[in-house]
Amino acid sequence: MDNKDKAKQKKNAKIEESEYIIQLKGLTKQYGNKCVVNDINLNIKKGEFVTFLGPSGCGKTTTLRMIAGFEIPTQGKVLFGGEDIAKLPPHKRPVNTVFQKYALFPHLNVFNNIAFGLKLKRIEVNYQKANGEAGVKQVKLKDFLVDPNTGKPDFSIAAKDYYSYVEKGYVKLKKIKKYVNKMTKKGRVQKEVNGYKYYIDEKVRRALKIVGLSDYETRDVNSLSGGQQQRVAIARAIVNEPKVLLLDEPLGALDLKMRQEMQIELKEMHKTLGITFIYVTHDQEEALTMSDTVVVMKDGVICQEGTPIDIYNEPLTAYVADFIGESNILDGIMIDDYKVNIVGTEFACVDAGFGQNKPVDIVIRPEDIEVKSKEKGIITGVIKSSMFRGVHYEMMCECNGFEFIIHSTIEAPIGKEVGLYVAPENIQIMHKEHVDNTVEVTFTSNTTFDMYGGTYDFTPTALWKDCSYDADQDILTIDGVETALKGSSAKIRFGFADVDMTDDEYAAPLAGNVDSMIYKGKNYIVDIKTDDNHHIYADTEYLWDKGDRVGIKIDPDKFEIVKEEAADIKTDGDGISAKNEDVKGDENV
């Protein structure tokens, strides 16, 4: 490649980069051994409204704090306009934050809270020392240069030109009023010009007007209501005219009505100000209402990013579907292209390319199910309950033992047998994240192995077909070879339904906490997180609560060995790359 090409490529790269104001590259944050944010890559466009959405502890706030500069990433880059700012302290970053609990300074009134940033504003100026050396010094806002003809501070004056502009007759902000008075007397300048104090005054007043709190300047911040404090916090951030505004669950402490009002106002502000908003929330409705782009996070990883419409209509995983809005999440089997079996009935769908007889996750939004007469539906069921919810009725219909939630403006009477119809395009089909638990275990004897620190019994005859052992269980014969298993390891597999959850953690070899649950119409798929942060999935008909401490029991007969030819696939129960699931799915069928 010759140099010309290289230069061209470089130029292209630059153009591409300049489109994005913030880029996160391989951003990782660890506290001790715990990975809170794991290798996040994200590009944020200028003027975009981006929302990080996820449950508490998913790493969304940590990500925001790394952009703001309160946390230094363990690895990765935070590019601001192409420049890495990951290690820059917060006061040097061109971003401002609206904090969750506002963090208004209690000893300052509204005006001084808002003016705080303005008064600190500094630019670096190159100048020549007396001995001819070049030096850099910090210039305060009051020393900013003002064009005496317009009366406005000229921030565009480059640092190196500062002194040449002074020679040109530009005046420092603090002196401008005096200067103008003098000039006006001489009849030279007739324009209205503001001095330093007036300049700040005007900015603060404008910010207060934007947030709808005019005439609140002298109020004590402690005397304001939650909503008003929130507005002051926003004013305090936007008055500095940041390129990017970071908002950390800013509406979390407000009541519903206030929150909805502020959502609309924030969206308006975003339009008027035209700056980039990065917003963090756990409220999916808030995220869908306000954002241009929603980034759904879980366990420090981005699950999906896209427009609110994409995220809602085409969730990539059951987790995203469950988190965003109400939905019916069900197990399905992709019979063939455009054909899917859900709860024992074949539905037409618009998806293809999954292969034949592949287990998949199905999402159907409650409002996409049409209640028809018994004959006209694809599947028949009985209405079990109905609740008036204002705009619609929320009905529960049982079909083949599975529950469907339906939102409809027309009520069907309880007990009535109805037909349900779902248009093919409204069936969202997703790869399964996991189809079974696959774990690398170490044998501790011929009948026990160690899995994530718990010792489980297993039945060797269930693991190996051609296998026998003597009465004392001392000698194990596999494929005609006497084997001592102790110390060796293997990859084993067990199904979701083989996991037995128990209240008594000491009655089971291994314990963990319930991390999340997804309702599948009849049963729950429970994600149990062990103390070493491994995940084990269980299928249960009982409802557990998030955070419940449970013991994990597994029937010794239920383990299967993962065959050698499949051994090169790296799966350890945590692996979630889509490619692997396909293969795993294969094995399962």
């Binding site: 006061h91 208004l104 209690p106 600190l120």
Partner: protein, 258 residues
Amino acid sequence: MFKKCMAIPYALFMALFVLLPLALVLVFAFIDASDGSFDMIANFKELAKEQALGKVISNSLIAGLSTSALCLLIGYPIAYFLTKPEFNRKGVMIGLFLAPMWVNFLLRMMATKAVFNVLGFKMGMGAVIFGLTYEYLPFMIMPLYNTILKIDKSYIEGASDLGATPTRAFWKITLPLSMPGIISGLTMVLIPSITTFAVTEIMSNGKMMLLGDFIYSLKADSLNMAAAISFVLLIFMGISMFISNKYADGGSKGGGIC
């Protein structure tokens, strides 16, 4: 009714050990010792005549104010760094700094005096101020530590987010917000150090007197005079409390032992 009965011991305690002594001080201050009659100004006139008193008051003010200032200057940085977890793992350091309070102060003063003598330092005002600072430093650190500890970290983050360097954030946020602690620390050092006795006696070889020593030196029969001086001190105390309350209300609440 039962709940009200529970308050009786405290009410009795208050009456016997707080209200009664205060009342006695007031009564004695306004009774003429020579004839036992009620006289508003007799004791104060007598006080004014006392030659040494002017010197005692000026000494007290100098010693008290410089002790307070020194305690604040030394105590603030200590308290500030002790609130940082990296300097004060599990509160061990703060315990160490407060440990001198566990040793009898007379013993400490005498030891200090011995050290001063060995080093050949002159015993006088300087030594007294040193002794007082040594004595009262923990009383300054404690309220400061509590106040600074309670300042929400998000204020500092907010300030740095708005462009403040760490130094600037300290002057603009941390210091103003630790005002209540400063005030209560000063209250706990100023008045006690003015009215202390023994420290002066030991650290100045009995050459110097503060108000406390002066009261101590009065003979048993001049209880009325002592009461009069106490009355003056009470007024001082009242004024300083008034000022401290006024400031403490301004900033965030809490902090301080009192």
